[in-house]
């Protein structure tokens, strides 16, 4: 998941019983992969089941959790956005807090280079970043 969100930390928590398979997670990524040893107290205390995803807010307080066996990107993205400060600006591709031509340039470059999906660039929220988003961003800037 590459939504251009910098201030969210993701952890994977496995079980020691399956240590030999944890490398499937580590291959090609740098997120922390943590191992819960027997008797899996962390899994128990969180009430976690297979493929459960928990969200804690910036204070470390529980926000919500749900199972992601049926992958729902929008549910995950929207939950994260609910937790982030309101000053996260849709279309602000360079993260400077302002919508201007610099963001358009980055967005155009991302579209032309088929970059990984960036939810912050998905102006119409259709799950695709393309010329429609460029048009929307330009319209917002000009208005």
């Amino acid at each position: 998941m590459n939504a251009g969100i910098d201030n969210v930390k993701i952890f994977a928590i496995g079980k020691s019983q399956y240590n030999s398979s944890n490398t499937n997670w580590t291959n090609g990524n740098s997120i922390p992969v943590l191992v819960d040893p027997l008797p899996y107290n962390s899994w128990s205390s969180w009430g976690a089941g297979q493929r459960d995803l928990f969200f804690l807010n910036a204070n470390g307080d529980y926000h919500t959790d749900f199972n992601i066996t049926s992958w729902n990107y929008n549910q995950i993205y929207n939950t994260i956005m609910d937790l982030l400060p309101e000053d996260t600006l849709l279309g602000d591709t360079n993260g400077d807090g302002i919508l201007n031509v610099l963001d358009v340039v980055i967005l155009v470059n991302n579209v032309l280079s088929n970059s990984d999906y960036d939810a912050n660039s998905d102006m119409n929220g259709d799950g695709i970043v393309n010329v429609l988003d460029i048009v929307l961003l330009i319209g917002i800037i000009l208005s």
Partner: protein
């Protein structure tokens, strides 16, 4: 009776405070915190996501 009430209250608070926490080793050698123990408390100020899973 009063002591029991306090004991129950303290146990409840302890349970709530400790429920969404852990202190586990990072085994991902490509992570910058490889080999260290991590906990959500270390990332106060950031939204954190915690995915629980394993090979079936």
């Amino acid at each position: 009776m009063y002591k029991n009430y306090i004991l129950i209250s303290l146990l409840s608070v302890s349970f709530v405070l400790g429920q969404y926490n852990y202190n586990l080793e990072n085994i991902n050698s490509t992570s910058d915190t490889y080999g260290t123990n991590l906990s959500p408390e270390s990332y106060t100020g950031q939204v954190t996501l915690h995915y629980f899973g394993h090979q079936n």
